[in-house]
Structures are given as C-alpha cells and as structure tokens.
C-alpha cells in the first residue's frame, strides 16, 4: 500500500494518527509538566495541562533525598559496560554460529537459545546465592556479568547470527584467499559490515540494562549503589506514601535525556532494526 492516497483519505489518516498519538505522548507530557507543579495542583480538577505556577522545588529535592546523581551515573556506566560487553560476546558467538562449521554447533546453538526462554525471576534466587558466596552482593557485578554472559545477551546473539547469515559467503572466501585467519576475518570484514545490526543490538541491550528493576532490588541494598529504576520507587515519605511531584521529577530526569538522544538518532536506530534481518 504505497500509492498516494486521496485527500480525504489523507485527512482521515492524519486524524487517526493524531488520536492514536495521544496515549503515547500524554503520559510523558503529564510527567514533565506535573513535576513542576505544587503537589496540590497535581490532583486538581479541572486538570491543568500546563502548570500555573512553576516550582522547581521537586527537582531540588530529588537530589537531596537520594544520591540521585550517583544513581544516574550507576545506571549509565553499567548500561554502557553491559552494551559493549554484549556487543563483543554476541557478535563473536553470532559470527561463529553463522559462518563457522564446527561439530555440534546446532546443538550448542539450541543450548544457548534456552537462555531466551528463562525469565529472570526464575533464576534470581540461585543467582543471588552464587553471588553471595562470591561476596559480590551489594556490588554492581551481578548487574554487569549476568546480562553480558547470561540470558539477556542470547537475543543479541540471535540477532547477530541472523545478520551474519545474510552476508554473502564469498566475503569469507575472499578473506581466506587474502590469508586472513578467522578472527581477522571477523574483526576486519564481518564486523564493520554489521553496523546496523550492532546498532540495533546496542540499543536493545542498553535499554534492557537501563530498565532493570528486579535485579537491582534483589542485589543492591546501599542507596549509593542503586540504579535509576530502583531509585524511582524510593521517593516515598517516611511512612510509605508516594511523594508524587518528586517521583515525577525524578522520572522526568530519567526519561528525558534518553528520549532526546533517541529523537536525534532515531533514523539510524529504526533503520538499523529494520535491516537486522529479523524480518525473516
């Protein structure tokens, strides 16, 4: 359906898209504007789409009540390390499964795929015990090692494998003719071509790590070590009632930078996803 629609149809389509866009945009809009409102205004009726009085107090309190800057940094650096690590491991594995013939590879691939089927809640208790015996509770190691080496990176491997399968076999042959070993072929030929897939994997992986909720709650107990999703739920008053405006301010701080980066880079990202070969 890629022909130009008529004018009437065009208007209907635009209208439909506008209506559909509301639930996507409204919550973010509400979050941002409410974070600047005094608490009493947030629940006001009729609802105020734009704050009548702008208060920045909630933002100040976000940093006062928790080591929020530190937590932001935590989420950021953990996600970065996990992304780089996953890219390395997944591209290596994906390349090997796609291009190298070795005995038992199908069986091993299936074995690796089981990681996709296991929800993290299922393995969290034994993982906790393991890390506890290694003395790594309340550190960031579980949040780094498990995503890179465990279940979450399996999807990345799958995507990379799909992509490498779609590369022409002649590339490998030509590389071999030039005397390149396997690793060099991977490093110098296959990997540079894999940019769209790598980009998509990077974004998936970053977002997954950025959004981890259960794992930080289970593994971390010191506020300075918390990550953002965990920190967001801690903005409660002394007796457990949510402090709405502060929570919304923290939520805005969490969401906006990533959103901005996405808006700027979305063309690359969307196209990268499309070209991963996930289509088939």
């Amino acid at each position: 359906m890629s022909r130009r629609p008529s004018r009437g149809v065009k208007l209907t389509l635009y209208g439909l898209m506008l209506v559909l866009a509301v639930p996507f945009v409204f919550p973010t809009w509400w979050m941002v504007t409410s974070s600047f409102k005094p608490v009493s205004d947030i629940f006001a009726f009729p609802p105020k789409l734009v704050p009548t009085t702008w208060q920045f107090d909630a933002y100040r309190q976000v940093f006062e009540l928790q080591p929020f800057a530190r937590q932001y940094l935590n989420s950021m650096y953990i996600a970065l390390i996990v992304t780089i690590g996953t890219l390395a491991i997944a591209s290596l594995s994906g390349y090997a499964f796609a291009r190298i013939r070795f005995r038992g590879q199908n069986l091993l691939f299936l074995l690796v795929l089981t990681g996709l089927l296991i929800p993290s809640e299922v393995t969290i208790v034994p993982l906790f015990q393991m890390f506890f015996k290694a003395g790594l509770i309340d550190t960031h190691w579980p949040l780094i090692l498990v995503p890179i080496l465990g279940a979450p990176s399996v999807l990345a491997t799958f995507i990379m494998r799909q992509f490498f399968i779609s590369l022409p076999v002649e590339l490998d042959e030509a590389a071999r003719v030039d005397g390149l070993g396997r690793f060099a072929t991977y490093w110098r030929i296959a990997l540079p071509l894999a940019r769209p897939a790598l980009g998509a994997v990077a974004i998936f992986t970053f977002l997954h790590s950025w959004n981890l909720y259960l794992e930080p709650i289970v593994f971390l107990s010191t506020p300075e070590k918390f990550t953002l999703p965990q920190a967001l739920t801690q903005f409660v008053d002394a007796y457990g009632g949510p402090m709405w405006n502060i929570q919304l301010a923290a939520g805005t701080l969490t969401a906006l930078p990533v959103l901005v980066v996405f808006v700027l880079a979305q063309k690359q990202f969307v196209e990268g996803l499309a070209r991963t070969g996930l289509k088939g």
Partner: protein, 320 residues
Amino acid sequence: MAARTDSVAGLAGAQPTPGWAPATRPPFWTTRRRDHLAGYLFIAPQLIGCAVFVIAPLALVVWYSLHEWNVLAGTFTYVGADNYRALVNDPQLPGVLRATGLFSVGLVVFNLSLALLLAVLLNQRLRGTVVFRTVFFSPVVVSLVAWTIVWGFLLQDNGGINALLRVVGIDGPNWLRGGATAMVSVIVVQVFKNVGLNMVLFLAALQGVPAELYEAADIDGAGRMRQFWRITVPLISPTILLTSIITVIGSLQVFAQIAVLTQGGPGTSTTVLVYYLYQQAFQFHHFGYGSTLSILLFVIVLVLTVLQWQMRKRWVFHES
C-alpha cells in the same frame, strides 16, 4: 568443506593457495581444525556464561523445588515431590493461570494489532510520518518504572484520566480497583510502552513487500482490504510469527508493572504466574515452592515457544 574449496578454486582462478594444498605430511592444525577451534573459542564466553548463569541456576532451581526452605528459621529439608504435589493441589493456581492466560492473550492480541495498524499507517507515504514514528516509539526508551509510575498516577480515581473524562461528562471507573479494569489497565500500560518495537519491525517488513504486487492487484480490481489480507499479511507472516513469539515470551515475564500498579490485586485478579512466584518466594518466603512455580513457568514458556515455532510450517508463507 569440499564445496568451499571448490568455490575458492573457482574464484581464484583454479590456483590453490598455499596452506590449502596438503604438504608431504598434513600438519595437525589443518585449516579445518583451526576453524573448528576458532568456532569453539568464539562461542566459549557465551557458552560458559550460559552454563554458569542460565543452566546452573536452572538446575539449582530444580534442586530447591525438592526442598522446604524456611528462611528465617534457616532450615532446608528435602521433601521430594511434595512441592509438586502441592502445586497440583494449590487452590490458588487455577486462578493464577487464568489471570496469566487472560493477560497474555489480551496483551499479545492488542500489541500485535496495534503495531500492525501503526505500521500500516506509517507506511502510507504521508508527510511527517517521521514525527509520528518518533512519537509512537518514544515510550520504548522511557524508563519502565517511570512510565508505570506516571500511568499509576494517571489511573487513580481522582487522577488525570478520570479528570479528562469528567471534562467530557463521563464518570470514569476506578481503574486500578475494579477486577476487569485493573487487568485492562495493566495490559494497556504495557502495550503502549512496547508496541513501538513491534511497529518498527512490521514497518520494515511492510516496506519489503514489492509494490508491483499491489499494482497487479489493482489492475485485477481487488479492493484495499482484500489486498491486505491476500498479499500483505502472507508476505509479512514471518515477521508476524517472530514478533508473536517474542511478545508471548515477554508477556509471561511482565512483573514491574503489576508490582507498581496493582500488587496483584484487586483480590487476586492481576496475580499472574510471575507475580505469584515473587509473592511465594520473596514475600512469604516459601523459596522451595517458589522454585516449583519457576519450573512451571519455564515449562509453559518452552511449550508455547515450541508450539509457535512448529506452527510456522502451517502459517508462514515461505521460509527464508
């Protein structure tokens, strides 16, 4: 390997390169063996990682499920299949499974339909679709907990959504407190968060459908809807299958939204299997029984995935 050698010879002009032609005595590390080794080494980190962080914990979970583990008292006693018997007899389990089923089905249907609808809309060559594409995708990058907290706050009886409804004269229900509306609310929150991902995949698939097919259909006089069902859907069926597998698996793992929005309530209407597992293991401290539930969850995911994968022979138009 033989086929490869042939094609190399063909490429290089029938001149075998050194290293490929056997010497008087073949070295141990033939290219084939080196290749094998490279293969194993490349996958080694992932494989070891999976063994340590996926297989081993799974085995441990099976081990725990055979014990009664009282955390506070510090006892860990072997009870054999007792936990599994308790599972079969658990009066709450049917309700949990029903909630899980309703949730997953609702989520998958809503998610895939909406994703397809949005993708079709975006594929219409209208101006400014890039803006809409960004809008529809934006919740994917917003933090999950932030998104859920904002929705929780909007869904309150005196929150933003009901306030808007009141403006047009509708008295909105207490979204998170009514049995059915609570489930619907959680589904809607989750779908709007992630539908952008499926939408992009569908969009890519749609763009891969050759325009000539539609033109030919136009000439034959087929209407839009017919073209959609007869041309579009079959051609993007591999994508539909893939997204449905991923979405089904994902739907069985939805935890944070339920924890933040409804805590499994009202009553137990939104207590899906993953949340029930969390309650048993982490709130009531029945780690042994919680492990049993984990195994059940794993089995369900495995069965559903295998089923869907088998269905590809029937439903998918052609395999790539």
